[in-house]
C-alpha cells in the first residue's frame, strides 16, 4: 500500500539479508544466540525491520508447540526466519512477538 523506502538502521553492528544486504536488525536488539533453525544457528531478536510476515502456522519445535509466521526480505523475498506469534508452553512465552533470523542467511552490513 503506497510507496515506502526501506528502513536503515544505525548501531555498532547491523545484520542484513545475505542476498541483497537489506538492513534487518542491529546487535542492540538481539536477545539470544542460542537458537537453531533449519540452516543451523539462529538468533532471537526483539525488533526486526524490512521484513514481510507470512501466514501463521502451528509448528512443533524442540521446545514445544508454537504458532509462527515465516518472515521474508522485502526486497528479494528470501525466507529469513520466523516470528513467534504464540507459545503454548508457559516457559516459552518470552518468545512471543519476537523474531528468529537464521545466522547463515545474515551478513554483516555497514
Amino acid at each position: 500500500m503506497g510507496m515506502k523506502y526501506r528502513r536503515y538502521l544505525a548501531g555498532e553492528r547491523i545484520y542484513g539479508c545475505s542476498k541483497c544486504k537489506t538492513h534487518l536488525a542491529t546487535i542492540h536488539s538481539m536477545i539470544s544466540r542460542a537458537f537453531n533453525g533449519q540452516h543451523g544457528r539462529a538468533y532471537l531478536f526483539d525488533g526486526v525491520v524490512n521484513v514481510i510476515e507470512g501466514e501463521p502456522n502451528d509448528r512443533q519445535m524442540t521446545t514445544g508447540n508454537h504458532t509462527v509466521r515465516d518472515i521474508f526480505c522485502v526486497k528479494c523475498a528470501t525466507v529469513l526466519g520466523w516470528k513467534y506469534d504464540r507459545a503454548y508452553e508457559q516457559s516459552q512465552q518470552y518468545k512471543e512477538g519476537k523474531y528468529i533470523l537464521e545466522r547463515n542467511l545474515l551478513v554483516d552490513v555497514q
Binding site: G2, K4, Y8, E12, S29
Partner: protein, 669 residues
C-alpha cells in the same frame, strides 16, 4: 469641480518649454500677460481666435486664461481628501499635477495648481531637475543643500554621484584632461573608503580607447541616453520625497494596487492581459478556469502507480509503477477532452524491481527511470532501453536532469549524489554525504541542489575515522563518543542545500519528520518539501528560512509528493494518504480544493503540465492516473449529456483500456 467661465481673452500661451516634467506652472502663473499666437506644440491644432471662450481640442473643454486672476482659488476645509485621515489632499493633488504634466496636459495641471493653491514643487526643485537633465553640474550641486540634503554623508554621496556622471561624460567627449581634473578634485576627496574600489574602476576607464568601449565598460549609456534621468532617480534617494516627488509616482502606486489585486486573486491562473484589466474594477479569476474535474482516467498499470512526470513539451506523460513497468502515454493536444487521444505509447518492462522515480531529458528524447538501485535510460521515440547504470548501492530516490543541458543527477539512499553527462557516463560523484537522499531537486538557475533525506549515524566504533569522509554537514553526534552501545535511534531528517558547482554545503537544516519530496519554484527562490506528518513546508532559498506551511493533507507512512502549479507557480498541489488531491494558493497558504475521485489508497504523486497550465495529473494506489482539467473545457460536453461533472460515466474506449469519462462521439452532439 467646475472651472469658472473664463474671460474673453482666453489666449493660451505656449511660450513655456514643453518638457512635461519640467517647467513649474507657477512660473507661467506669474507671467500674467501673454497674448501670443495660439499655435501650440504637440499638435493641438484648433486655432483659437480672440474672443472665443472654448477650445474644443482641450480635453477640459473650456479655454483657459493664464491670468491667475481668472481662476478662482477653491479653498476647502480640512486637509484630507475624503473623510479618511490617511489620504492627504495636498499629496493627492500634487500627484495628480505630476501625472497631468507627465502625460502632457499642461493646461489642466496649471489650472489645478491655481485652483487648489498647491504647487507641484518649489522652483528650486524644477531648476535642479533642469540642471541635471541639461548637465549643469555646478548649479545642481549648489542646489543640493537647498533641497534638503543636509546630512553630510548624504551630501557627500550625492556629490559623488554627480561628479561621476560629469566624469563619464567628459571621458565620452574625449576631454581627458578635464576628466582628470574632475577625478582629482571632485571624486577623490568625496569618496568614502567603500568607494575606493569604485574610484579605481573609474580611473581605469581613462584607458578606454573610444566612447563605445567606455560605455560598455562602465555599463553606462552615454550622455544622450537615459543616464541623466537615471542620475536623477539615484539622487532622489537623498532628497526628501515631499520636496521632490519621485518620478511617475502615481504609476508606481497603481502598479502596486494591481499587484495587490493579483495577489488576492486566489484562483489566478491566466496570463495577465492588459486589454482586459481595468482600473475600474478589481481583478479576480473565478473557479471555473481552475482544473478541478477529472477528464481522463488512465488505467493500464496492474499495480500501484507511484510517480508521474510530464515531458517538457506537455504532450507526453510517463508513469512509474509498483508493477515494475513504466508507461509513456501520449496525451493528445486537442482542447476538447473527448476528442483527445490518450494512448499508452510504450510500456517499458525491463525493470527487475518496482519503479520509484522518473525524469524526462530536456529535449524529451530520453526518459530516465529508477528501479531500486538501478537507473535505466530509455529512448522515448522507440521505447528501447539505451543503458542501465548500476553505480548506486541502494535505492535511487531522485532523478533530475540539469537545466543547463549538461546531463542529469541521481540521488540515492546510499548517501551518494552522482552527476552524469548526457550519454550516461559518470561525471562526478559526491560520496558519503550527510544524508540518505530521499529526494533532490536542482534550481532552474543551476546554482543550487537541494536534497532531503534521513541523517546517517556513522558507526561509533570507527570514531573520528568514520567521520572523516562525511561532508561537513552533520552536527557532532552527541552520545557516541564514549563508544558505548547506543540503541537504534530514529534517523535525523535533514534538508541540505548545496552549491552545485563546488559541492559546498550552503545550509543544512534539521527537520522533525520524514521528508519525502522536494521541488523548486520556477524563479529558483522557493523549495517545496513534503514533511511527515501532514505538513508541507515552503522554504525560502534566498533568506534561508521557512516561509510557509501547508496543511490539510495526510501523510505519515508513505512517500507522498507535491509540486508547484499554475501560471507563475501560483498553486501548490500534493497527493495525500486519504485519496484526495489537495490544492493550496501558494502565497497565502489558503486551501483551495480537496479533489476526490481516486480509489482506495494514497494519491502518491502529482504533476502539473508544463505547457498547458490548466491541466495536471495525479497517480494513486488504485492503479490509475487521472488527468484533471478546468470545468470550462469539460463542462460544456458533460452538460450536453446530462452527466454531472463530478460523477463521470465510464465508457470503454478499446485502445489500451484507457477509460474516458463520457461516450466517445466523433462530431457534434
Amino acid at each position: 469641480m467646475r472651472i469658472p467661465e473664463p474671460d474673453n481673452q482666453s489666449n493660451l500661451s505656449s511660450s513655456y518649454d514643453f518638457v512635461p516634467e519640467a517647467g513649474p506652472s507657477c512660473v507661467t502663473l506669474d507671467k500674467a500677460s501673454h497674448s501670443n499666437g495660439i499655435n501650440k506644440e504637440n499638435g493641438y491644432s484648433a486655432p483659437v481666435s480672440n474672443g472665443t471662450t472654448s477650445n474644443g481640442s482641450l480635453t477640459m473643454g473650456n479655454g483657459l486664461a493664464k491670468h491667475s486672476s481668472s481662476i478662482t482659488r477653491v479653498s476647502l476645509p480640512g486637509t484630507t481628501l475624503y473623510d479618511d485621515p490617511y489620504l492627504d489632499r495636498e499629496e493627492f493633488v500634487r500627484l495628480v499635477i505630476q501625472s497631468l504634466r507627465d502625460v502632457g496636459y499642461i493646461e489642466s495641471a496649471a489650472t489645478l495648481e491655481a485652483e487648489s493653491g498647491y504647487s507641484l514643487e518649489a522652483p528650486e526643485v524644477s531648476e535642479f531637475r533642469q540642471h541635471i537633465l541639461r548637465g549643469a553640474w555646478a548649479d545642481a550641486e549648489l542646489l543640493l543643500v537647498e533641497l534638503g540634503v543636509t546630512d553630510t554623508d548624504a551630501l557627500v554621496d550625492a556629490r559623488f554621484l554627480i561628479g561621476k556622471q560629469k566624469y563619464l561624460e567628459l571621458l565620452e567627449a574625449r576631454k581627458t584632461t578635464a576628466a582628470l581634473q574632475v577625478l582629482r578634485n571632485d571624486l577623490a576627496p568625496y569618496s568614502t573608503t567603500s568607494d575606493q574600489e569604485e574610484l579605481h574602476v573609474l580611473s581605469s576607464l581613462m584607458m578606454c580607447s573610444d566612447p563605445q568601449d567606455l560605455r560598455r565598460r562602465a555599463s553606462w549609456d552615454g550622455a544622450s541616453g537615459i543616464s541623466r534621468r537615471q542620475l536623477l532617480d539615484d539622487l532622489q534617494h537623498y532628497i526628501p520625497s515631499s520636496t521632490m516627488i519621485p518620478q511617475r509616482r502615481f504609476s508606481t502606486l497603481l502598479t502596486q494596487s494591481r499587484e495587490y489585486q493579483r495577489h488576492r486573486c486566489l484562483y489566478h491562473n491566466s496570463l495577465v492581459d492588459p486589454s482586459s484589466s481595468s482600473l475600474f474594477s478589481d481583478h479576480t479569476c473565478d473557479k471555473e478556469s481552475f482544473p478541478r474535474i477529472t477528464t481522463t482516467i488512465l488505467e493500464v498499470h496492474s499495480d500501484e502507480v507511484w510517480n508521474v512526470a510530464w515531458s517538457h513539451d506537455g504532450t507526453h506523460l510517463a508513469s512509474a509503477s509498483k508493477d515494475k513497468t513504466a508507461i509513456i502515454w501520449r496525451i493528445g493536444l486537442e482542447a476538447e477532452p473527448s476528442s483527445r487521444d490518450c494512448i499508452a505509447e510504450f510500456i517499458l518492462r525491463d525493470h527487475p524491481y518496482p519503479l520509484g522515480c522518473l525524469a524526462w531529458s530536456l529535449d524529451d528524447s530520453i526518459l530516465s527511470t529508477s528501479a531500486d538501485h538501478l537507473i535505466l535510460l530509455w529512448n522515448t521515440k522507440t521505447g528501447a532501453l539505451m543503458k542501465t547504470l548500476e553505480n548506486h548501492a541502494e535505492t535511487v530516490s531522485a532523478l533530475v536532469w540539469l537545466p543547463d543541458g549538461s546531463g542529469f543527477m541521481s540521488g540515492s539512499l546510499d548517501r551518494k549524489i552522482i552527476l552524469w553527462d548526457m550519454e550516461g557516463e559518470l561525471r562526478e560523484s559526491w560520496n558519503d554525504i550527510a544524508i540518505r537522499v530521499t529526494d533532490a531537486a536542482v534550481t532552474p538557475d543551476v546554482r543550487r541542489l537541494v536534497a532531503v533525506g534521513m541523517g546517517y549515524n556513522p558507526p561509533p566504533a570507527l570514531g573520528t575515522l568514520g567521520r572523516a569522509n562525511v561532508r561537513d554537514a552533520s552536527p557532532p553526534i552527541v552520545s557516541n563518543g564514549n563508544g558505548s552501545a547506543v540503541g537504534p535511534r530514529s534517523p535525523e531528517n535533514r534538508m541540505i542545500i548545496y552549491d552545485l558547482k563546488t559541492g559546498q554545503v550552503e545550509l543544512s537544516v534539521h527537520m522533525e519528520g520524514e521528508l519525502t519530496s522536494v521541488k523548486i519554484s520556477e524563479d529558483s527562490r522557493y523549495a517545496l518539501i513534503n514533511h511527515a506528518p501532514d505538513e508541507i513546508h515552503l522554504w525560502d532559498l534566498e533568506e534561508f528560512r521557512l516561509a510557509r506551511k501547508f496543511t490539510g493533507q495526510r501523510q505519515g507512512h508513505h512517500v507522498i509528493r507535491s509540486c508547484f502549479g499554475g501560471i507563475d507557480g501560483n498553486f501548490v498541489i500534493s497527493g495525500s494518504e486519504d485519496r484526495n488531491v489537495y490544492v493550496w494558493h501558494r502565497d497565502t497558504g489558503t486551501l483551495l480544493e480537496v479533489l476526490g475521485g481516486h480509489g482506495l489508497g494514497s494519491v502518491n504523486s502529482v504533476a502539473w503540465n508544463p505547457r498547458n497550465k490548466r491541466m495536471f495529473a495525479s497517480c494513486s494506489d488504485d492503479n490509475t492516473i487521472r488527468v484533471w482539467e478546468a470545468p470550462v473545457s469539460a463542462g460544456e460536453l458533460l452538460r450536453g449529456f446530462g452527466i454531472s461533472a463530478s460523477e463521470p460515466e465510464m465508457f470503454g474506449k478499446g485502445k489500451g483500456k484507457v477509460k474516458q469519462p463520457w461516450a466517445y462521439h466523433d462530431g457534434g452532439f
